[in-house]
Symmetry: D2
Subunit: 304 residues, 4 copies
């Protein structure tokens, strides 16, 4: 095995770290692993690694960086070489250098302007369950309690360009794409973990952040998540609904800083030799919101 | 990427091929791809490859062979070399040689006595949905209609031995194990696709076949599957229930020949650096049937 | 027992009877009982009575009439007397007079301008299942396949007035109400069958028809219903979502004529001595769409 | 409206009241309303009345009494007269006389030996939610958290006899019955609230108590209930499974004293003019456990 395994984590900017922490631990129901100055580290309850979400105190909302986990230590050198060959500078950071729990890291700036980390050896902290005769889960979970991070959705001015980079240089596979009538990619869905997407791009300003999605096990959890939103006065942006693209079901809502979150479930297994699915511009509404069949303009706006 | 990607297919013996076909297409709801003499080829509706289940006319029930899909053509040579190094003979078969749709294949006999194929390049036949602006699924599905194969569960006299072979030679990762009080493995769960198991072994006669499992998306589908069983007079063996080991939920039932099937959902994502979970012999009941907490003796009997 | 038992049926106008029939039988999945000239009679698969929905050929969409089932034959006389005492004329129709399957009927015009039937003794036609050792349901259901009618939602200029009439004269109980800042009722929910509502009224033009709702058993069925809509190109108006008022979950969509339908589930049991719940005008958005918290203006428009 | 409205409450014997309370509040998730000497009063979170379950300290497990709620105060006199006419003595108890919250009560001994209360005017204590702009539920529920009591299942030596009494004297309707090959009733299901059963009888010793069932909203809640059982080491007796009779789905488990509980969902609406369903003795297994199709002998044993 070699190369990128899956999406590892996202680092998100929040102006009020305490408020964001209260939201992410009590409403979303992530587990806080540690605090370190102006950053807090969180994970889904069933993740074993140190963190899948970092909250960073910053003047405004947005995405600071995202990280992918690689299979083996040697993948870092191989991928760094390919990225450099593609004319993009990389920096190397030893375990711990980028903060608590952080692994060996290759950092670079994607053509879409996003800071991307490739990571090996992040600290493993376990899922709070014994390795001997465990129950099927903790009994004291709070909020929506997603077991783990699922995918990230970004904006890029040149979706074709960044998609080529992710496919050719990083080895991602294209599962679905929405094509403009002029023949360029309006949105692309890319995976390494055989799901429908570890990462997706939508046409918009470079560096833009559309949402980060947490996995839940079924459609019922989306309703319970929406109940939690309503109970806590959290604005539901869209859903529970279904996507034509990926066939997954999702619920969108905002953290107190304005970063969009999704609870996501469903989708399908994607083999390396499966063909990507294409959506025409005319069917973009159905690709995004399969039931309503039309886009909510607010939903298409970059949020950070 | 290299090595084994996932479980590809199972070949199951049935004395009455017509009856078995009626059951697998109408009750289970698999799609028949083709017939070839005394064999019929089927797949889950969302599988793109030619088949994930082969029914073979034979005097009695049981497992004829199982197959794993590899990432790349070169994996076949690499794995064949490792298997030969382990003192096990392999044979090589060109695409089409082992039947309709079959890919390049390395065949060998596992230490547990099972015939195992490693396959690259099986025919892709698609999932009956367009690649342009598709709906989220066909509207005319029959029976339980699982989208795809999930895992296979076999018997072996020496579970420790075959588990070592699958880990050391084939590169599988151990996710869970049930240990006897004497310190040997009563059952092991092994994966390549980051789920809880592509294959599992239970102590029993070599060559034994416990069940083949098809994936469904949620707990609701298990109830609907059980409704289908009852409607068609198919014997439900156990469930809908939950397993302590893998945390997955399942429904067990028999095909007309006596081969055990499972509808399975749930489980969790397993990273290569996650630690396996261990169950003690005293907790084996809960590991298998989490709710009842005790084993159904019939369930533990090898069926073929 | 005496008085009104529950909502019995609705008669809906459709310009193209064939198209409407195709929609109600294939997409919604109702069972056609009979045709009679310009009318078609349908029922949910688990209803035993002759019809719960009548489609009537008419120049435009809208509600022709609605009917309630009473417990006993003598209830008809008692209720007719009360209605006449309230200054409203009634007419009496023998079984069969109002069409195939129709029972003894008292017909009158409610203060909101709607034609209302009180019915006893509609033909019982069974639910297509044997009364001896039945399965849990038919195996060949089509479309959304709701087992039965649930409630009806109407418009009235004077919601206070029609609500008083339904409570005082017909014996309905108020379960929930949305109050304007000026102290009048914007919407009311009324029941006889101990659910959250057999009928509801929303401020709007007299005689207006907001929607008719069919019961399904759970939230999962709403997603499957929405999948059916999308597959068949049926416009989803709202949902799957949840209501604050009644706590029920619903999916709204339109028949080809423009009549709004709902698939509904959830709600709660209401005892005769339970207190009604009140929503303020400021919270009306949450009362109707609990998750989004704001009204879709199109949703509030009378549709027929 | 007149007569019995629905099952109101059950009074269950427990040797260790503290242990039973811990179980019913933390595992089942009922709400404790009050304590009164050797009795504790509980209710489902969404019930408005003072109690639906009374735990009574007693040397062994079993049923002390059960109660039905009537529509109107005058129903008590009417029903008492009918019961006396049937040759059964009744006693009358003013509100409060039978304990905290108790309403006006007619008490008698059913032909099956069970103590039955008919109650009007039990204290209403609300469901802990505001009557103005409420959320869809409390956010701090514990355990399985059923919203309300559903039905009770008793044993009787002469099921035909007690069924006749419930139908003829108390006005219950028969929804389903299991008939012996000799033509007597092995089990009967009887309702007043238009569900499949408020009460059911199974052949067994007079005074026997099979189980008391709490309502949950869907099949998913049964899995979550079973997870709670397993987590807390509560013995699951059967399920999650489905019944052929009533079509409902259930999960059976025991309180620490040995009283059987059920979480129940599903079933169907029953009109007064619907015909009862009959099961033959040969199909009794499927009537009780629709999926396995055979009775668990332990399940058929009276437990108290």
């Amino acid at each position: 095995m070699s190369g990128i395994l899956r999406l590892s984590h996202a680092e998100v900017r929040v102006p009020d770290l305490e408020l964001a922490l209260a939201y992410y631990t009590e409403v979303v129901g992530l587990i806080e692993t540690t605090r370190d100055g102006d950053r807090a580290f969180l994970k889904g309850w069933d993740e074993h690694q140190h963190h899948s979400l970092i909250l960073k105190s910053a003047p405004t909302y947005g995405l600071e960086s995202l990280g992918f986990k690689v299979h083996e230590a040697s993948d870092l050198d191989d991928l760094a070489a390919k990225i450099e060959q593609a004319g993009i500078e990389t920096t190397r950071h030893a375990a711990g250098d980028l903060g608590p729990g952080s692994g060996d890291t290759v950092r670079f700036r994607a053509p879409s302007g996003h800071t991307v980390d490739l990571v090996h050896g992040m600290d493993q902290v376990g899922n709070a369950m014994p390795l001997l005769n465990p129950p099927i889960g903790p009994d004291n979970l709070t909020g929506m309690a997603p077991p783990r991070l699922d995918h990230i959705f970004l904006m890029a001015e040149d979706v074709d360009g960044v998609t080529d980079f992710f496919r050719d240089v990083l080895g991602f596979r294209l599962t679905e794409q929405i094509m403009s009538d002029d023949g360029y990619q309006l949105a692309t869905f890319l995976e390494r973990c055989h799901s429908t997407h570890d990462i997706a791009f939508l046409t918009g300003p470079d560096g833009g952040f559309h949402h980060v999605a947490f996995w839940v096990d079924d459609w019922n959890e989306l309703r319970m998540g929406a109940d939690k939103c309503a109970y806590h006065g959290v604005t539901v942006d869209a859903g529970p609904t279904r996507h034509g693209a990926t066939r997954g079901c999702g619920l969108y809502f905002f953290d107190p800083a304005g970063n969009r979150n999704e609870l996501y479930t469903g989708g399908y297994w994607f083999d390396p030799d499966d063909e990507p699915t294409t959506w025409t511009e005319a069917e973009m509404g159905r690709a995004i919101f399969y039931y309503q069949g039309q886009l909510n303009p607010a939903f298409m706006t970059v949020h950070s």
